[in-house]
Amino acid sequence: MSWLGKVVRMVRSSRRAAPVGSIRVVDLSPLHWLSITYNTVEELGHVTPQGMNRPAAMTSFRWVDDTTLEVDLRPDNHFPEVETLTGSTVERAFNEVLRRKSPHSCGSQFNLDSRTRLEVVSERRFCVHLSDPDGLAVGRLRAVHLDEHAVLEWAQLRVCSPKFGGRGLVSDRRGEPVGHWSGCAG
């Protein structure tokens, strides 16, 4: 993490109220693993209660042409204790999504066309190369879950280790990471 990032982190920590309290939840929804996912991993974008896309891990995007989406990442965005979220993080996430036939089986509108390609331009910029114009491309980024490399390795072993802080602990039975990325790989 850069010195600027450390300063920003200190300022944020000093200004925000510390989280408090503990609650016990019984979530009877069959999709509760999905809400856990969305509250433990990061995404490039989120959605407001009004249903509008809002940048999250990304700060901005622009259409270079009809099929090329250029995205800038938030600076000094890091996972707890360990690595910084960079273009490599996004590339890893895209690879996980694209190697599956239907990664979002219960929300297929988030699936990316298998011909989609990612180009990491720099630590904070990447381009998504689409096979065809796609007006929903930015919205689909909401379901590209970003997590650190160590957690994906953990998920392969299916061992719960508090050391890693535990994110993306939604994996399928075969040990493949970040759970609702289901279906056949490759």
Binding site: R12, P19, V20, R24, V26, W33, R173, R174
Partner: protein, 162 residues
């Protein structure tokens, strides 16, 4: 941050035919009895939170056990989602629990097969008669204990374009 337990699904394709591909997804849950999340106090989006220090998901209770605990005890279950409409009254009468209702994105609709060989459902009048024969108010009262609204189409009344 998720520090204990896991919540996963195993999704398998049940292929009906290859061309064109037709398949449902068979999902099987694989959850630990508890899943514990702790706050990441350094998360960049202050507006989003976290505000709670810890959330513990309890996967070790049946819906019946959950309802019993939320209505009759304190400290074992603090939040339950998706209470059945028939159980809502019990929660309302409980001294320990408060019922909170939201607009659900769920619509119950009937689909009529117009191609049915032995029924005159290709006739608009027949479909209209079927439609009018359904007592929506009674359906809401008897099946959903009043916790639903009749619709004229598939769009819920609270869906507003901004």
């Amino acid at each position: 941050m998720l520090v204990e337990g896991y919540s996963s699904i195993n999704a398998e394709m049940a292929i009906i035919r290859q061309e064109p591909l037709a398949c449902p997804w068979l999902q099987q849950k694989d959850w630990t009895p508890t899943v514990r999340l702790t706050a990441n106090p350094d998360y960049w989006d202050v507006a989003r939170g976290p505000r709670l220090a810890e959330v513990i998901f309890r996967n070790d209770l049946t819906p019946e056990q959950t309802l019993e605990r939320i209505c009759t005890t304190e400290g074992e279950v603090d939040l339950v989602t998706e209470i059945e409409p028939g159980d809502a009254l019990r929660v309302e009468k409980s001294d320990h629990a408060k019922l909170v209702t939201i607009d659900a994105f769920q619509v119950i609709a009937g689909v009529i097969n117009r191609e049915s060989a032995d029924l005159p459902l290709g006739d608009k009048r027949a479909r209209l008669a079927l439609n009018l024969a359904i007592d929506r108010s009674k359906l809401v009262a008897d099946t959903f204990s009043g916790w639903a609204d009749p619709l004229g189409g598939l769009t819920p009344s609270f869906a507003v374009s901004r």
